[in-house]
Symmetry: C2
Subunit: 163 residues, 2 copies
DNA sequence: CCTGCAAATGTTATAATGTTGCAAACTTTG
DNA sequence: CAAAGTTTGCAACATTATAACATTTGCAGG
């Protein structure tokens, strides 16, 4: 399952998308939530792209396949997916990416390559722990943690331009 | 326009603003950068508010004092201030806040209270270290780190509504 | 079946945030 | 002063996100 999250290495992406969709369907069934066609299609589009997609990117994609949607349609689907932990919003990019740990209520750490645009979601308990400790020191009660690191991924150090 | 708010502890905020401005002037002199009247005024407005200000908040404030600025004026001033480490941008809020460690090349951790809107910038070396370690594990080279924690500040736990 | 409610989607308009491009004013420096 | 570079003014525009209200769909109970 971690392989699914690694854009650095080539892999069978179609399989990884269908796995994500299957997981999503299971999670929604379990939570009595309706993964409607639009919501599922949005999730699929997000997963098909290794790079985070903006809401209007998704809108455009839906447009090219005949579904002439308006912004609220997409934002509502995204809200649903966020709510159920199926995607993350990357605040520093105004974009959305598939959650690689769907189901486990969590908040990932995102490594965003400035060169190729790929994003890697880490499950970094040490980071979370450090943040929680720092917050506890000043009696602050954390509810949502945003950790986004922009930089260079391994492949783009040295030989830039990998898309 | 956000009303002025008390931070965790009462203090002489005017003094703390003038200190920040004095520091900024020193830093700019040292770096051969021009802290022009607009830039200084924007920095002052940001410091006078304990809550992060949006670019358009600043724009409106400048408007009420007769300076009828356009968005680029504000964004350019903000870019300058960011460049020189005098303010931070809070991505999850689309807003800007004064940097409490200006001059020391660093990246803070921000605790954002959802109740009162105040923001506390921590210097949390443990967090930074944990993030860097996690990035190093996957050979990712971090350049800019965004850490924003939304939650409840001490004053707003229990008795909500502190502005 | 149908009926009525709640959830989901469609539709239109608009708000909020951020950028581009070019001209004018100002600063610095030779 | 004059040239060069930086900063600001200004108009238009691009992108991201939400509000408000109408319509359709799914589904439980009569």
């Amino acid at each position: 399952m971690p392989e699914r999250a690694l854009p650095y290495r080539p892999h069978n992406h179609e399989a990884c998308v269908s796995q994500a969709l299957a997981d999503a369907r299971a999670i929604c069934r379990q939570q009595n939530a309706r993964l409607t066609p639009i919501r599922e299609r949005v999730l699929e589009l997000i997963w098909q792209s290794h790079k985070p997609l903006g809401a209007y990117d998704i809108l455009a994609m839906l447009g090219t396949e005949g579904h002439n949607a308006a912004p609220p349609t997409v934002y509502r689907a995204l809200d649903f997916l966020l709510q159920h932990g199926l995607v993350h919003r990357i605040a520093s990019l105004n974009a959305f990416t598939g959650c690689t740990h769907a189901g486990e209520h969590h908040r990932g750490t995102f490594l965003i390559c400035r060169e190729c645009g790929n994003v890697l979601e880490l499950d970094a308990p040490d980071v979370t722990r450090a943040v929680e400790a720092a917050a506890a020191d000043v009696a602050f009660r954390p509810e949502e943690i945003t950790m986004e690191v922009a930089g260079r991924c391994p492949r783009c150090q040295g030989e830039p331009g990998h898309a």
